[in-house]
Every structure is written in structure tokens, then in C-alpha cells.
């Protein structure tokens, strides 16, 4: 295995705790190769979102989060980078789609202006070029009549439309790695399929790597090469997606797979 490419992201012994409380993520290690897609599944509270946020060193608002271990990205340890250098990575090289769309959008700015700002800041586009790109991006994530809807405020969008805006913002800078935390939970299955296809295409065309967090096993099944199952802040099973779904080894993984609701489960 000497010719395996060095990982883009190499997380070693990551631990995360809120203040002085017991750690909620304990000694986890995983890696993501360039262009690779890895999935994270597990019950609510198992530490998926905290893990995702740790990679970008983003604590939830008002919650002091402390980290230990190493997060190696392009050979440097992100946990040791100063905040200025970290800002160059966030949103530009590694982008994230957060779980809660409303709290990550600015309620008093139009949706379009928020995407314009990102593009001007990170891609150095002029205001006019940024707006053209913004309209393209909104169309790409399936917002109808994007030129007009760019002038809406977030509260004028449905839940699913807001979630799509976050995806548009995240992919706007063509990141090397996209961390998507439950990116399609608010979407109907046909729009979900379009978004998943879009993510696949970005992987193919930009060589973008993907860290996908979802409690929907169907979504994970079609999107990633490897899966990590989290329970109580630890990774309890890791495997190739086909093997893990065909023959889960950990009882917890089996229990989760058994709980997936089926279409024919009538009342």
C-alpha cells in the first residue's frame, strides 16, 4: 500500500469536551483521502456534529469547547494553527454545511447578499460577478427563479430552501473538503436526490472530498466509500460501505440498521 495517496485530512486521537465536563468525543481517529467520501452515522448525541465542528475548530455559540489530539490537514495540525491562519482554511479549503439552517443564516440580510459576500471575500469576485455566480449557484441547488429569490430574506424561504442555500454557500468556494452535517434532512426525496447528485458531481469535477453525516442509512449507502459508526463519543465500527451494510459486526450497528423504517411498514 505504498502508493496510497497521503490523506487530505488525518484525525488522530481527537477528544472534545464542553468546558470541564466529561469529553463528548473520545480518542477518535479517522482519515479522508483527497476526493474520497466518508460517512458518519450514529444516534443523536453520539458526537457526530461535535466531531465535524472540531475539524474547523468551531464551537457552538456560547459553548466553550476544548479539543485534544491532532487534526492534520495538508501536513499541518489545525488544532495548533492561529486563528488568522484558521480563517484562511474555513469556508475556503474546508467548507461546512451545518445541521440547523436558520441559525447559520443572517436573518436581516437577503439570501443573495450572504452568498455574494462569501464569493467576494473568498474568491475575490467583484460585486457584479459575485451576483451572477450567486444566481447560478441558487439554480444549481434547485431554487426556482433564482434571480428573483436571491432578494428574499431567509424567513421567506421554506425550511428545505434554506438548507439548499447553505449548500450553495458551502460549495461556492469550491473547497477541497466539504463537511456536510445532515445536509438533506429537511428535503423531500426528489430534491434530496438532486442535491446528492450535485455533491457527487462536485466530487467528480472538483475532486472535492466529502465528510457526510446523516442518520439516514439510505443516504449514506449511496454516497460514501467508507462508514464510521459512532456511539457515545467513540467510533465503534468502521468499514467499507458495501461490507458494513451487508454484514454489520457491531451489535449497535445492527440495531440501527434494524430500526430503519421501511416503506411497506403500514399502520
Amino acid at each position: 500500500m505504498t502508493d496510497a495517496p497521503p490523506p487530505l485530512l488525518d484525525v488522530r486521537g481527537l477528544t472534545a469536551a464542553f468546558g470541564r465536563a466529561a469529553p463528548v468525543v473520545r480518542d477518535i481517529s479517522f482519515h479522508v483521502a483527497p476526493g474520497e467520501a466518508v460517512g458518519f452515522v450514529g444516534e443523536s448525541g453520539s458526537g457526530k456534529s461535535v466531531t465535524a465542528r472540531a475539524v474547523l475548530r468551531l464551537a457552538p455559540e456560547g459553548s466553550p469547547l476544548v479539543w485534544g489530539g491532532q487534526i492534520l490537514y495538508g501536513g499541518q495540525d489545525l488544532l495548533r494553527l492561529d486563528e488568522h491562519a484558521m480563517r484562511g482554511i474555513r469556508g475556503r479549503r474546508i467548507a461546512m454545511v451545518f445541521q440547523d439552517p436558520m441559525s447559520s443564516l443572517n436573518p436581516v440580510m437577503t439570501v443573495g447578499a450572504q452568498i455574494d459576500d462569501m464569493l467576494m471575500q473568498h474568491m475575490g469576485l467583484s460585486r457584479r460577478a459575485a451576483r451572477r455566480r450567486t444566481v447560478d449557484l441558487l439554480g444549481l441547488v434547485g431554487i426556482r427563479d433564482p434571480a428573483m429569490r436571491a432578494d428574499d430574506h431567509p424567513h421567506q424561504f421554506s425550511g428545505g430552501m434554506r438548507q439548499r442555500v447553505l449548500i450553495a454557500i458551502a460549495v461556492s468556494c469550491e473547497p477541497d473538503l466539504l463537511i456536510a452535517d445532515e445536509p438533506t434532512t429537511a428535503l423531500d426525496v426528489t430534491v434530496q436526490a438532486q442535491i446528492l447528485r450535485l455533491l457527487m458531481r462536485l466530487r467528480r469535477e472538483l475532486g472535492m472530498a466529502l465528510m457526510l453525516i446523516s442518520h439516514d442509512f439510505g443516504v449514506i449507502a449511496g454516497m460514501v466509500e467508507r462508514v464510521h459508526v459512532m456511539q457515545g463519543g467513540e467510533i465503534v465500527e468502521t468499514g467499507d460501505v458495501d461490507a458494513l451494510f451487508a454484514a454489520p459486526r457491531h451489535p449497535y450497528t445492527r440495531a440501527l440498521l434494524d430500526a430503519v423504517p421501511r416503506l411497506d411498514a403500514r399502520r
Binding site: 448525541g45 428545505g160 429537511a186 426525496v189 447528485r197 430503519v260 423504517p261 416503506l263 411498514a265
Partner: protein, 322 residues
């Protein structure tokens, strides 16, 4: 059949026009009934008007026209005072268990608030009712002095449900009540909602995009597209015999927990779907021009209790050009 608990007829909601454009018609001539103790599942495209329909029924959003009757009383024309009294009968359970609870209010205060507002029980009896509500939703009454962030997503959703039930409603709109939850927690909350329905005779409007969950809870199912109901029927009719092309699209797009099949399914999904057109306005429908534009004119009853709005019905027939 008994009189419906909720009767919605030709409900329309428009949002004001922007910069010289036509108003957005988010809900367009929506009609359905919900019987006592039954659940209507509402599924459909993101942005198709499901939440707006729920809000308009609860009079949290003004309807531009149409009728909403709960327990035989017309809500749309009601005075503020009468409406406040009716609010006791209808409640809302929202999608996001993280933002729908006030972060600085204890569970006890969260549950006591509606009891005090509606004077449902005498002030001294509130703590007892709060404890009873906690037990009802399967939580330990001993934790009532904690704050929302101390609970898991599933526990928070139980508290949100307890708050909705505090005033003993007859009808609850559940807007994506489980979509933020993992599968095992989802199953627990769905069980809880069904248990409460059986025990208290509640009726639900259950809005969700997870078709398997809707299959498990709904007696009847309505499918929305572009502000309109395009198909309505008993759950078995809609799932086993979908008539509208959009309904079939939805059912075909449900992800499967089998990596090889799911990859193939995604690869087959429409490569570049036609997303043009204006949300909430008629067409262009991916199934043919003006498909939605003429919805009412093209409503077909295809079996008792099962109808579809489609100008290509029956399949194979020349498009109906009425």
C-alpha cells in the same frame, strides 16, 4: 362516516408581490377533511406549501380565501377573542427540537405557560398537571427543573409534544416532527404520537418528507406540488396505487439501505431536472405543461376516497384539454 373534525375547503394563501411581480401563491385551493382520531399525512416537494397550509389552518398565517372549520366552527372569520378560545383545541409541534424550546426556560416553566395562558387548571394544580404531562410523554417528572440543552433531541421533542398537549387539544399539526432525529429515536417518537392518538383520540396533520414514516402513521395521505394537492387517498391507495406522476416520482426516489441499489438509483435520478418556473405558481410542471395550472379542473376520482389531479389521467389517454 362521522362529521370531520377539520374541514378545509379551497384554502388559498398568497404572499405579497415583490417589485412588480405577481404575488406568490403558496397554497392554492387546498381542500381536505380530517376525521376525529385520524391522521392525514401531508407530503410533497420542498417549498410546495405544506408548512404554510398548516399555519393557515391554525390561523398563524392569514388565508387569502377559503374556509377552515374545526369542530364545526369557521376559523377564518373569527374575532381575535373567539380565536384565542379555539386555540385550546389546536396545537403545533414544530420540526426543530433544538430551536422550538426557549433555551432559558426550564421544562416546568415551558409546560406551565400554556396552562396559565388558557387557565386550563387552577394555578395551584399546575405542578401536578406538569408532572402528569411528563409521564404522558414518557419522561421522568423529576427532571422538570432542567433546561433544554440538558436533553437529547428525542427528549426535547417529547417536551415539545407535552407542551402541545398541555391544553388537551383535539387537533395537532406536526410539522416534520421526527426529521431531525436518528432512526431509533424517530421510531420512539412515532410510537409516542400513535399511543397518544389512541389514548386521547387526537387528530393529526402530519407533515413529513419521510415517506416510510408517513406510511407508518397516516390513515390518509395528501401529496402537494406547487401549492396544490395533486393526489389524495387512503395511505394504502396512494402508496400501492399511486396515480399522479409526481407521487410515483416521490416513491421511486426513497433511498434504499443497499449501497449498490442506492448508487444506481441516484445515477438514474433525472440528470438535470427542470427546476425553472416560479415556486408556488402553476407549472411548468415536470410532467407536462400546465399540469398544475389546471389542477381543479382535472380532479378525477379514481376509487372511493382516492382522487388525482392530472390532465394525463387516465394514463395513455390524450391530454385532457378542458
Amino acid at each position: 362516516m362521522s362529521a370531520p373534525l377539520l374541514r378545509v375547503r379551497d384554502l388559498c394563501v398568497s404572499f405579497p408581490a415583490r417589485r412588480g411581480r405577481a404575488p406568490v401563491r403558496a397554497v392554492d385551493q387546498v381542500s381536505f377533511d380530517i376525521a376525529p382520531g385520524q391522521t392525514l399525512g401531508l407530503v410533497g416537494e420542498s417549498g410546495s406549501g405544506k408548512t404554510t397550509t398548516g399555519r393557515a389552518i391554525l390561523q398563524l398565517q392569514a388565508a387569502s380565501s377559503g374556509s377552515v372549520q374545526l369542530l364545526g366552527r369557521e376559523l377564518t372569520a373569527m374575532s381575535g377573542r373567539d380565536l384565542r378560545a379555539m386555540r385550546r383545541h389546536m396545537q403545533f409541534v414544530l420540526q426543530n427540537p433544538y430551536s422550538s424550546l426557549h433555551p432559558r426556560m426550564t421544562v416546568a416553566n415551558t409546560l406551565a405557560e400554556p396552562l396559565a395562558v388558557h387557565r386550563s387548571v387552577p394555578r395551584h394544580a399546575i405542578p401536578e398537571r406538569v408532572a402528569e404531562l411528563m409521564t404522558l410523554v414518557g419522561m421522568d417528572p423529576a427532571v422538570v427543573n432542567r433546561y433544554p440543552h440538558e436533553f437529547s433531541g428525542g427528549q426535547r421533542q417529547r417536551i415539545v409534544i407535552a407542551r402541545a398537549l398541555a391544553v388537551n387539544p383535539d387537533f395537532v399539526v406536526c410539522d416534520e416532527p421526527v426529521s431531525a432525529l436518528d432512526v431509533r429515536t424517530q421510531a420512539q417518537i412515532v410510537d409516542l404520537l400513535q399511543h397518544l392518538q389512541a389514548r386521547l383520540g387526537l387528530s393529526y396533520l402530519f407533515i413529513a418528507h419521510d415517506l416510510a414514516v408517513v406510511r407508518a402513521v397516516a390513515h390518509r395521505v395528501a401529496v402537494m406540488y406547487g401549492g396544490r394537492i395533486v393526489e389524495l387517498g387512503n395511505a394504502a391507495q396512494v402508496y400501492e396505487n399511486p396515480a399522479h406522476p409526481y407521487t410515483r416520482n416521490l416513491l421511486d426516489a426513497v433511498p434504499v439501505v443497499d449501497p449498490a441499489r442506492q448508487r444506481a438509483l441516484l445515477a438514474e435520478a433525472a440528470a438535470d431536472p427542470d427546476f425553472r418556473g416560479r415556486e408556488g405558481e402553476p407549472g411548468p410542471c415536470v410532467f407536462g405543461t400546465d399540469h398544475a395550472a389546471t389542477a381543479t379542473a382535472h380532479w378525477h376520482d379514481i376509487a372511493p376516497g382516492h382522487g388525482v389531479s392530472c390532465r394525463f389521467w387516465p394514463p395513455g389517454a390524450a391530454p385532457d384539454s378542458r
